[in-house]
């Protein structure tokens, strides 16, 4: 079976190998990790005929430049970062045939924040605790293949099977304003009725401090002086810091925290958060 090498001529802003993460080790303080927009990543793998837990490349805002030394089949989903194959624009959410020697590059950010590149075949990448997702600690030791830098290579064993992919996978349109449904959290009652009313009746702006661990969101009137004993936090948990910032936790977040948890975003809506950029507007509503 042919061995394909992806060679990264440019790394992009934050380009990572991710899969569905390492669930089952959180009692040891291990972040879940994994793709932030799971629906888009799964769609990319489905289009190329891979199982949904196959690794993908998660591309954030600025795309990499990739050389393919063998022919293969790829699909790009999620954010539209103007992908080009050998300098010709290609569409997201479509199966693309790539010839040996081709170059995939990206351009202007059109919508969303994170794109997913799936490549048909078996990914020969290092795993830690059952997952190829880039580790947040000691990635150079634990998941050396998963943090892409200039010159990185990834080896994939391709197969010549024809692909029976679902052709009509729905493509989400990403906007710069989003409504997320939440369920009240364990410390919901700690906040005054006025503070809660304001939390749900205005839009909140995502600050520059937004990464795979979590997004900080500006709120007003949420300051508090309550202390709690540290307890579990999961992707989708919204914590409120003493100075009144809301933090929406995402896949790379630590597993425990000591800030009051006002609410949890319902799981189906969390993928939308991953496609938001700093400056975007978030509205919360009770599920």
């Amino acid at each position: 079976m042919p061995e394909l090498q992806l060679k990264f001529m440019k790394a992009g802003m934050q380009t990572l190998v991710q899969d569905l993460g390492r669930s089952g080790h959180q009692q040891q303080g291990v972040p879940i990790s994994g793709v932030l927009d799971r629906q888009s990543a799964k769609a990319a793998n489905e289009i190329v005929g891979n199982s949904v837990d196959t690794p993908v490349i998660e591309i954030t805002v600025i795309g990499p430049e990739i050389h393919f030394d063998q022919s293969c089949k790829i699909a790009i989903t999620g954010a539209n970062i103007s992908p080009r194959l050998n300098n010709e624009p290609i569409a997201n959410h479509r199966l693309q045939n790539v010839r040996a020697g081709s170059i995939l590059s990206f351009g202007k950010m059109i919508s969303g924040c994170r794109a997913y590149l799936a490549v048909a075949g078996k990914w020969n990448v290092n795993k830690w605790l059952g997952s190829a997702s880039a580790s947040t600690i000691s990635p150079e030791l634990l998941t050396p293949d998963s943090v892409i830098t200039k010159g990185s290579t990834i080896s994939i064993t391709t197969n010549d099977q024809s692909i029976h992919s679902t052709t009509s996978i729905h493509q989400t349109v990403f906007t710069n304003i989003v409504r997320l449904r939440v369920i009240p959290g364990p410390e919901f009652e700690w906040f005054t009725k006025v503070a809660i009313a304001r939390f749900f009746s205005t839009g909140h702006i995502i600050s520059q401090a937004a990464n795979r661990m979590g997004y900080q969101i500006k709120t007003s009137g949420m300051e508090h002086q309550k202390e709690m004993i540290s307890s579990g936090i999961i992707p989708g948990t919204i914590q409120i810091t003493p100075d009144g910032r809301a933090i929406v936790l995402l896949a790379d977040a630590q597993t425990t925290g000591g800030y009051p948890r006002i609410a949890n975003i319902i799981d189906d809506d969390l993928d939308k958060m991953a496609q938001m950029k700093p400056g975007g507007e978030v509205w919360f509503s009770l599920a």
């Binding site: 600690i137 540290s230 579990g232 948990t237 630590q254």
Partner: protein
Amino acid sequence: MIKIMPYGDHALLVQFSQEINVEIHRKVKALSELAGKLKGVQYYIPAYCSITIVFDPSLTSYSLLEKEIQEMDLKNDSEIIPGKHFRIPVCYEEEFGPDISEVAEFTRLSPKEIVEHHTSVSYHVFMIGFIPGFPYLGKLPNILSCKRKDHPRKEVAAGSVGLAGKQTGIYPAKAPGGWQLIGRTPVPLFQAKNKYPFLIQMGDLITFYSISGEEYHTIEKKFELGELKGKDFYA
């Protein structure tokens, strides 16, 4: 008495009496190990006096898990399994514990007295969190209580032993951090190459003892050569 409540649409939170003590924590440990094996549970996070349990809604439901956990809790008391007891060597020399002078100033103790107090008690592992395998140990003798650093370090060396508030802890891997560093252990808490990479679990007991810089390097070398293993440090 436990309180169970929804935590988003695919998790639940079990809350015990909200205080930090070993008795309550033993119940957290026992119940979390049982609950972690229930059908549909994807992962769980035990803490000081709570357990967060995340489930797959296609395999179970909030109401079913709530019922199963309530029933388990009723017969939980007799099934408490004690954790392991470790004796962990720590070099408290300034080279390994760069904040020991700052802590001495703050606590009005000499570095020698800090070491005596820090090694005088056994610590219960209340929680693993912050970074993989990081144990939150309590309770620290009151006299050693000190605030976190005003400016967290960008990188703390693996094995560093720190103080924060009424807690002490050990960095299993290099990471940014704001704890006051008073020493470092050559015993790796985290070995990536092992099938089971974590030495310490919540519910374990840890006693520290003081070693010289020379002993630190000897133990470090022996781990590299495979002549020492984590289990050699069971008390």
